[in-house]
């Protein structure tokens, strides 16, 4: 049977130290809610790094490629023959 414990803190450093101790003891920290980002908490409770930035870059690359291709074949006479 598993127990769920809720802990409330008023200091983010104490929270961080507390989370480290709890994880060291083998307990799983499900989530940490805070009014501002607690730097350092991600490694302690196992929040995985996001690939959002990589995705954003790829979306931008795709968009730019399509735009450049579109502009290239829009101005090229060859494109008109294909279109109409």
């Amino acid at each position: 049977m598993s127990t769920v414990i809720y802990a409330m803190y008023d200091d983010d450093h104490v929270l961080l130290e507390g989370a480290k101790k709890v994880v060291a003891k083998g307990m799983q920290v499900k989530d940490v809610f805070s009014p501002f980002p607690v730097h350092g908490i991600d490694d302690v409770i196992g929040v995985r790094k996001t690939r959002l930035a990589i995705c954003a870059f790829l979306y931008g690359l795709t968009g730019m490629t399509l735009a450049l291709i579109g502009m290239r074949f829009h101005d090229c006479r060859l494109a008109y023959e294909y279109w109409w």
Binding site: D11, D12, F33, P35, F36, V38, V47, T50, L52
Partner: protein
């Protein structure tokens, strides 16, 4: 890991603050009632705004003939105002995006309000190219949509079209960046809200934000990505706006210095407007512990830097007008300095070249009254700069038989004042509904830059960030 803060670092948050106190200070204007001052300024702004809206309807209904434009001077106050407003908008993005990438923690007290200023300024800017079309109901023709006019496409070679894309991109990215930063703060207000209407409204605006660690992780990543997107926009948007002039053949316009000159000028006038707004806001909303003299000083340094760049651009323009040997270019500048509009050129030179140099004096750039007056002077100067560039160059260009003067009508002036009114209406409403300080960001720096916390750190004591803390 014991944090070390250099001794020369001044605190960024004054007083004996706790996290809770920051929340209280910033949420007070949102949760409390507006003072008499707010109502007075709002009424004034609303009157101006109403007059502006009337002028808009008059312009759209009767036509561009109600402005003072003529065949020679076909761009005057409309485009001057457009460039002025877009320029002002650039400071907000620079503060939010560029200073984030440079990890400047002092931006946190001002970035929310500066971004709000950007968004409202860009809305005001967009009004002018739309209105100056005349037939605003055909505004959608600027979009490259397939059609049945033989498929009539927009002129992709024209910077006026590049403006459409640049400014709409700038507006949407700024809006998204601003809004995402607001979500955790809306959640804070939602959690504190007592009245059911307010709670409902802020719940919707907060998009269910819980403050979970994973969400904060994604939030910070998104902020960095958006900052990375917005930074090139600061430089590209105003470069494109400058190309409205630079890609033409008009003497006084056709110069390659315009893109960097305009970008520097935009940052210059933008920061001046931020100073104007922040100096009033910190007093009225009692945020003197967060928006410090230090912030004002840093902004003044940026004003001085970009003002100097603008000054250098003016001097290079003058030099090249002679050195190029092109008589039309030479005349354009002789006319600017000594011709019919010499007074606007004098205003521009005094306000933009002389005034930022005064910021070298430390005592003056740390003086709030001086800064306030100077920031208004700078904005007036930058308006005149755009006026000088636009009107004095085209009122006397290549063919003397076309030379003409320009006189603004009451609609020209009414529209400009009206946009100032609409801007302040939006800004004053924003100050009452939105938390004007980036709550969540400022809390992250309390531990390392709060006044009492720094004292504790340097004395080797434990740092307290919460009330009743025993540790």
């Amino acid at each position: 890991m014991h944090h070390v803060e250099a001794d020369i670092r001044e605190p960024l948050i004054l007083g004996n603050k706790t996290y809770h106190q920051i929340t209280e200070d910033v949420c007070a204007p949102v949760e409390g009632k507006a003072g008499k001052m707010w109502y007075m300024v709002f009424s004034l702004a609303a009157l101006l705004a109403l007059w502006g809206v009337g002028c808009i309807f008059y312009t759209v209904g009767v036509g561009i003939g109600v402005w003072g434009l003529n065949k020679t001077v076909d761009w005057a106050w409309d485009i001057t105002n457009f460039v002025w407003w877009v320029g002002i908008g650039h400071a907000g993005t620079l503060i939010s995006a560029v200073l984030l990438l440079f990890r400047q923690r002092w931006r946190m007290a001002i970035n929310r309000s500066a971004e709000a200023m950007t968004i409202f300024a860009v809305i005001m800017a967009a009004l002018f190219p739309l209105l100056h079309m005349g037939r605003i109901w055909m505004a959608y023709w600027v979009l490259p949509l397939p059609n049945q006019f033989g498929s009539l496409w927009v002129n992709f070679n024209s910077p006026l079209l590049w403006d459409v894309f640049a400014i709409s991109t700038y507006f949407s990215v700024s809006l998204v960046f601003w809004y995402i930063g607001l979500i955790p703060d809306f959640a804070t207000i939602r959690d504190r809200a007592v009245k059911p209407a307010a709670k409902k409204a802020y719940s919707i605006m907060a998009f269910g934000w819980t403050g979970s660690a994973k969400h904060w992780n994604r939030f910070e990543e998104v902020s960095l990505v958006l900052a990375g997107l917005a930074t090139p926009l600061v430089f590209s948007v105003h470069s494109i706006v400058s190309m409205d002039f630079a890609t033409s053949v008009i003497p006084g316009w056709h110069t390659t210095i315009f893109p960097p000159y305009f970008v520097a000028g935009a940052v210059f006038s933008g920061f001046a407007m931020v100073c104007t707004l922040m100096l009033v806001m910190r007093k009225v909303l009692h945020l003197e512990d967060y928006i410090l003299v230090k912030h004002i000083e840093y902004m003044n340094i940026i004003i001085m830097l970009t003002g100097s760049m603008v000054g250098v651009a003016y001097l290079s323009e003058l030099f090249i007008s002679w050195y190029s040997g092109v008589e039309y270019e030479g005349y354009a500048f002789m006319n600017r300095a000594t011709g019919w509009y010499w007074w606007s050129y004098a205003a521009m030179m005094t306000c933009n070249v002389v005034s930022p140099q005064l910021m070298w004096v430390k005592k003056w750039r740390r003086n709030l009254t001086f800064t306030f007056i100077l920031s208004i002077v700078v904005n007036i100067g930058m308006w005149f700069e755009r006026f000088v560039i636009i009107v004095t160059s085209i009122h006397r260009d290549y063919v003397p038989s076309s030379w003409n003067l320009f006189h603004p009508t009451f609609v020209d002036m009414g529209l400009f004042l009206g946009t100032i009114g609409i801007f302040f209406v939006l800004y004053l409403l924003y100050a009452r509904v939105f938390p004007v300080l980036a709550l969540n960001e400022v809390k992250t720096i309390l531990r390392t830059t709060g006044e009492s916390q720094l004292k504790q750190l340097r004395a080797g004591e434990h740092i307290t960030v919460a009330e009743g803390s025993k540790h």
